[in-house]
Amino acid sequence: MNLITLIMPFGIFVALLAVVGLFCLIVTRDMLRILLALEIVTKAVTLLLVVGGAVSGQMALAQTLVITLIVIEVVVIVVGAGIVIAVFKHTGTLDVRRLRNLKG
């Protein structure tokens, strides 16, 4: 597959997917939805790494990076979900606007 055929559509869709995740990160107030938006952005980065590997011909390197990214992603989500549950038990809400205990 030639360069233009691969890069242009994938590049545009990766950017759009990242925009969807970032937009949700900006506007949402639900802590679990923030984690979901973070996942969407990570999916865009994962696809970009694979496309980069396909274009540069270094797919083995791209796959090792993707596997490392997936491991980090899982740990971030699990710890994030744990924090959300702990905060919910403490405050009884998932709304980030109600988390004002550390506000100066």
Partner: protein, 168 residues
């Protein structure tokens, strides 16, 4: 354009559109369980794209870990928090239109802007070592990544243990 190339491009575009729709459903759906399932759908489509781009190992990891494990983690977390009341749902629907009305405009602007960009070939690093077998690369030159992954996993386990520690 070669007909085979055209068909492959069309298949890729359909898959990417499905992935984008999955992403939109994840952020737009009101019920968190449905949003988590939409995220799993996005992961499955990403996995198919990875297979098509000749990245089978990464695709297997994506399918088992991201579409499987992370969905289970999300649904478990959702089941541990209280469902939204009718008032909160009504307020959510009221504010959703106001909050997300800019998203289609932003997507259209970014998409149009990027489609006018020109693509230049990536520079090739002279003398760069090219290893095509992922297993050799991961257990050889990138072995330090594995150490990092183990440390990250241990940090994650430690974080979960601390978060769920019962008070004595």
């Amino acid at each position: 354009m070669d007909p085979n190339l055209k068909t492959e491009l069309l298949a890729n575009v359909i898959l990417m559109a499905a992935m984008l729709l999955g992403g939109l459903a994840t952020v737009m759906l009101r019920q968190l369980v449905k949003a988590a399932i939409a995220l799993a759908f996005t992961s499955v489509v990403l996995c198919i794209l990875m297979f098509k781009l000749a990245a089978p190992w990464a695709a297997v990891f994506e399918l088992s870990v991201c579409a499987g494990l992370i969905t289970v983690v999300f649904i478990s977390a959702i089941s541990l928090v209280k469902p939204a009341t009718e008032e909160e749902r009504a307020a959510h629907m009221r504010f959703k239109v106001r909050r997300y009305f800019l998203l289609p405009l932003v997507l259209l602007t970014v998409g149009c802007g990027l489609s006018y960009m020109t693509v230049r070939p990536l520079p090739v690093v002279a003398g760069a070592e090219l290893i095509t077998d992922m297993r050799i690369l991961l257990w050889g030159p990138r072995a330090l990544d594995l150490l990092g992954q183990i440390l990250v996993l241990l940090a994650g386990v430690w974080g979960v243990v601390v978060l769920f520690k019962e008070e004595k």
